[in-house]
Amino acid sequence: MNEGWEATGWKEAGRRLRRRAWLGGCVLLVSAIVGCGAPPREVPATTASATRVVSLVPAATEMLYAIGAGPDVVAVSSFDRFPAEVADLPRVGALIDPDFERILSLRPTLVVVYESQDDLIARLDRARIPVFHYRHAVTGALAQVTDTMRQLGDALDRTAGAETAAATIERELDDVRRAVGARTRPLTALVFGREPGELRGIYASGGVGFLHELLETAGGQDAFADIPRESVQVSTEMLLARRPDVLIELRTSAGEAGTVDAERAVWNRLSALPAVRDRRVHVLTDPSLSIPGPRIAQAARTLFSLMHE
Amino acid sequence: MFLRAADLTFGYTRRGPSRTAIAPDLVVRDVSLAVPHAAIVGLLGPNGSGKTTLLKLLSGGLRPLSGTVHLDGQRVETMPRRLLARRVAVVAQETHTAFDYTVLEMVLMGRYAWLGAFEVEGRGDHEAARDALEATGTAHLANRLFPTLSGGEKQRVVIASALAQLDDRATTAPGYDGSKRALLILDEPTASLDLRYQLEVIALVSHLHARRGVTIVLSTHDLRVVRALCDSVVLLREGRVLAAGPTATTLSPALIAALYTVDEALVAPLLG
């Protein structure tokens, strides 16, 4: 905490430097235009389609592929891993570091951005590039997924494909809900962050948000449902006191796959937890579980099978 | 001879841009002097003449580039720091503390060299401190905070601390040879004091010398201090000894005029 002022100092210096560099750049640019005129820029021909979509939102990228707009996608965010086709696409930054120049140079006809990216949105508006605002929903997060898919369909003239894909997901979610029926809902803690090898820095799903809704849809009772936050830092005491019957931990970051058994064993220290006693601690590495995209039905089925089979 | 310095040369080394040592500007050059036991010797010289540096060399605080200092026949440089501190105490021009110590705590700090690593001050140490406070007339200040004292009071307390440091009573510390012969070094003890405190400190030093028989080397600008206190005097100019000898003969108008590069006629009245 005491590093605060030094950090601001550096930041201030950086800002000054950047401003100076920017000014210098302007001067150069102006002289270039005056001197020889702007050089004509080649449009990169990565796809034959006239529609060119850039997505800064991994969940939205998945949706685009699900509604059949995959061939239109020309660039994705630095965090996109799915579907496999995105591996070869250019990366244009993400939430906090979108690369405006690269986005422009790709001549997109639609850019999918987080609605909180005000600066980027303003600049894209100035460049008269259509923008799709992706909304991160805290309540109604599952419904938001299929809604967003339909809106993307409308925006890209793929209404039919979007409707089919969205309806399928809704049907599959309903199937899961039906399968849950009147089964007793096990009290479940859905953990998605923890220091490796230790029971510290534990974060779990609270009573709102996509993971919470997924858990309840799949027939679980959220152990922290009374705390109206998407992410709750859980102390050992609170975890013990809530006595969850099932504990599901998501370790979805790259590189965590190899440590599943060791990390599951870490929980054995809390042997009085019903979940530990009954061997109902599950560690999952499937990244689809942490993305509110078209794979939510599959995620719900996975959670259902862990809690009810 | 109790304290003998031979051919002392010293300069503060600076590093050049390429990390090579540049030949130091010499601050003390080929200084030799001898101080008999129980004498009071004054170092007199203008600002920058090397008085403080010479005192640091004599007390073992600095290592000479060449030359030696012997205390009671022992080479100061090779004496363990603690054993040296039991024999030689230094009163600096000014003493500051980063925190608020009481006067008693300041004086007890003088007992550091007599105590083992985890040892707590015993009865003997407290007696030494009380005696030192009484000898310097500061017993009534014992519980005052040092930074709240006046300049003269501070100087007397630091002298008390030095006295406690040289007090060899009731020691069980190993390696002590039982010698009572100690050296007190005072660096411009009256420099920052007004007339009243100057006189007080002069009287105190003279009193201590008479009662305790401690050997004293002091530096000063003040001719009155030299005349009032010193048996002999060393005149230091640009790091070299200009003259040395008994106060009565050495403190002549001609030598003082040469020492400070002033007109002899101006100096004569000061020497009475």
Partner: protein, 330 residues
């Protein structure tokens, strides 16, 4: 002497308050539990939920608070004496920035290095910072220059802060959030492992502190004055620097860089008992421990079931107090 009596009473009061805090704080928590069940030896520990809440969640946490609080307060005292600067903190010389950088690296990209925990990495980072600062302070001088120490420490703090920002920038939103949360400090150690790991370092440091108490007093008079009274100044500075850094590194690895304890507790103690390190060090240790136990009790109960970062509590109490200390008429 009246003063010595007050001093002794303050140390005794510190010991009593620390003992009370450590005994009473585990009884308070965000949940209610049955003490009779917690201490019922007929129920096997593996099945005794109350016992697990008491012995796995609360007790180690209170002990961690006492250990970290006492250590930071004592280390702060030593740094202030070493640098002869009342505004020094355990974090002034970059130890915590190094520890934080280590922790940030593991939290952000550490998923690929499963063998190194956050604790180990922060200890490694602290060690790196200590060695760099020491090498710099040693480079141009025989012995340690406190001015160079201070400048090297402050500069290293700035460099490490930049690196911390850089590492956080590499992470995704969740990792960055966890990293920032780590910087606020947490004492939820969930067992005795981190305490046992840190204890040897802290024990060695406190042994050194006990030895340092007297020479530190003399060091605050200045290097020359200390040397002429028989203190081996370079050795004392070295021992002070390494032991206080060791203690700080261990404390930060347990709980993150919890602020303000290392500065307000020593000053508060000095106001009451004076400057002598033989009194200030033990008193600061006891009151630092008590203070952090109290702050953490507030942190885990004030907004239950949500938990406040303990660093926010210490800063909210410590900041205003420190300002008062600065403007206080002398």
């Amino acid at each position: 002497m009246a003063r010595t009596l007050t001093q002794r009473m303050v140390v005794v009061a510190g010991l009593v308050s620390m003992a009370l805090a450590v005994c009473l704080a585990p009884l308070i928590g965000s949940t209610t539990l049955s003490l009779t069940r917690a201490f019922d030896r007929t129920i096997p520990f593996a099945d005794n939920l109350d016992a697990q809440i008491f012995f796995l969640a609360r007790l180690p946490r209170v002990l961690a608070a006492a250990m970290v609080g006492g250590t930071l307060a004592a280390a702060g005292t030593v740094f202030q004496a070493l640098l002869q600067n009342p505004l020094a903190t355990p974090y002034t010389l970059g130890v915590s920035a190094g520890a934080s950088l280590g922790a940030m690296i593991v939290i952000t990209i550490g998923a690929t290095l499963p063998l190194v925990g956050v604790t180990g990495a922060s200890l490694a980072g602290a060690t790196l910072a200590v060695l760099v600062v020491y090498a710099l302070a040693q480079a141009r001088h025989r012995g340690l220059s406190t001015t160079v120490l201070l400048l090297a420490g402050v500069t290293l703090n700035a460099c490490f802060s930049a690196l911390i920002l850089f590492v956080q920038y590499l992470g995704d939103a969740m990792q960055t959030f966890r990293a920032i949360r780590w910087l606020m400090g947490s004492l939820d150690v969930a067992g005795y492992g981190p305490l046992v790991a840190a204890f040897p370092f802290i024990a060695i440091a406190f042994l050194a502190f006990a030895w340092l108490a007297r020479p530190l007093d003399l060091l605050t008079l200045g290097a020359d004055a200390a040397a002429s009274r028989g203190v081996d100044v370079t050795q004392t500075q070295r021992v002070a620097f390494f032991s206080a850094s060791l203690a700080t590194g261990a404390a930060v690895s347990v709980a993150g860089p919890i602020g303000f304890i290392g500065i307000i507790v020593p000053h508060l103690v000095r106001l009451v008992v004076g400057a002598s390190h033989r009194i200030v060090l033990p008193a600061a240790t006891c009151f630092g421990a008590t203070f952090l136990v109290l702050c953490d009790t507030v942190a885990r109960t004030a907004m239950a079931p949500l938990e406040l970062p303990v660093g926010i509590i210490t800063a909210m109490i410590g900041g205003p107090f420190f300002l008062w200390l600065l403007v206080r008429a002398r």
